[in-house]
Symmetry: C2
DNA sequence: GTAAAATCTGCAACTTTGTTGCATATTATT
DNA sequence: AATAATATGCAACAAAGTTGCAGATTTTAC
């Protein structure tokens, strides 16, 4: 099911950060690459087909990918956490995420970088920013 | 415990949106006014002193305040939802929220409005935006 | 002011989402 | 191949939020 090109890429990414290349990590990275948008544990589980990773494994895998920076947590209006590959993010900000108020779908809005916020209060050091947008997607507008 | 000035304000807000003036709503509005930052259900419960509202009541109260726009859900890196008064927000965006990576405290950064994002993709209608910032607060920097 | 209608509230039970401990399996290193 | 290091699955648990329903409050109509 996982195309071997994605598997290669996943292995490379894992090697680069010195994580064990396990089938869980490879598959989850491939799923995130294919998705191209933030996914929840449950969505990842559903997309992993016959493999049926335990949810504990999925969470721990995401945690390990998060720690080395391969993956980011994306803020959503959803209850469950959503994770996505970090490869479209700069050090200081991910691209904005958009939720359609009508159909509920999530979109990554690449290629629009908001200026980094600058606090008007003295003493705040801002290291990262995340922007979330809400409105109507092209299909619903 | 609730100062009667806040109670007055709360009653007026509720009247204005045609919600019943119940002690739960009044107290929770007052708590949010005093806090001046987003609070979770659990934080609200702890601040409500001897009243001991059931958590179901708190959630349902927040839901009703949310529906009429008196309150907003603020995105946080915390697991629990956080709610705040909507009176410092424009129609299209709340002020940004800041989380200190060291002490975990949340700050509302009033008075800095990021420009509204404009999608580079045709067909997206953006109605609201929320910005979340992470870094070091003055006490921890 | 009182009765009726409308809306809230608390409780108990439940769902969803995420975590911990521990024994076993897999991966990497020598 | 043996060993060390790390990952996985299972079961049990914890935290956050929801639902149904009976009884309590609040509002409205008289
Ligand atoms: Mn994204
Ligand atoms: Mn705020
Ligand atoms: Zn849509
Ligand atoms: Zn701090």
């Amino acid at each position: 099911m996982i195309d071997s090109n994605l598997e290669m890429k996943a292995r490379k990414m894992l090697k680069a950060v010195k994580l064990y290349c396990t089938s869980g990590r490879i598959d989850i990275l491939a799923i995130l690459m294919k998705a191209g948008k933030p996914l929840s544990q449950e969505q990842i589980a559903r997309r992993s087909g016959e493999k049926h990773f335990d949810k504990v494994t999925i969470y721990r895998t995401l945690e390990s990918l998060l720690k080395v920076g391969l993956v980011h947590k994306a803020f959503m209006d959803k209850r469950a956490w959503h994770f996505e590959l970090a490869h479209n993010c700069t050090e200081h900000q991910c691209h904005p995420h958009f939720t359609c108020t009508n159909c509920g779908n999530i979109h990554c809005l690449m290629g629009m970088s908001l200026p980094m916020a600058k606090s008007p209060y003295k003493g705040f050091v801002i290291n990262r920013q995340q922007v979330w947008l809400e409105g109507l997607c092209p299909a619903c507008a």
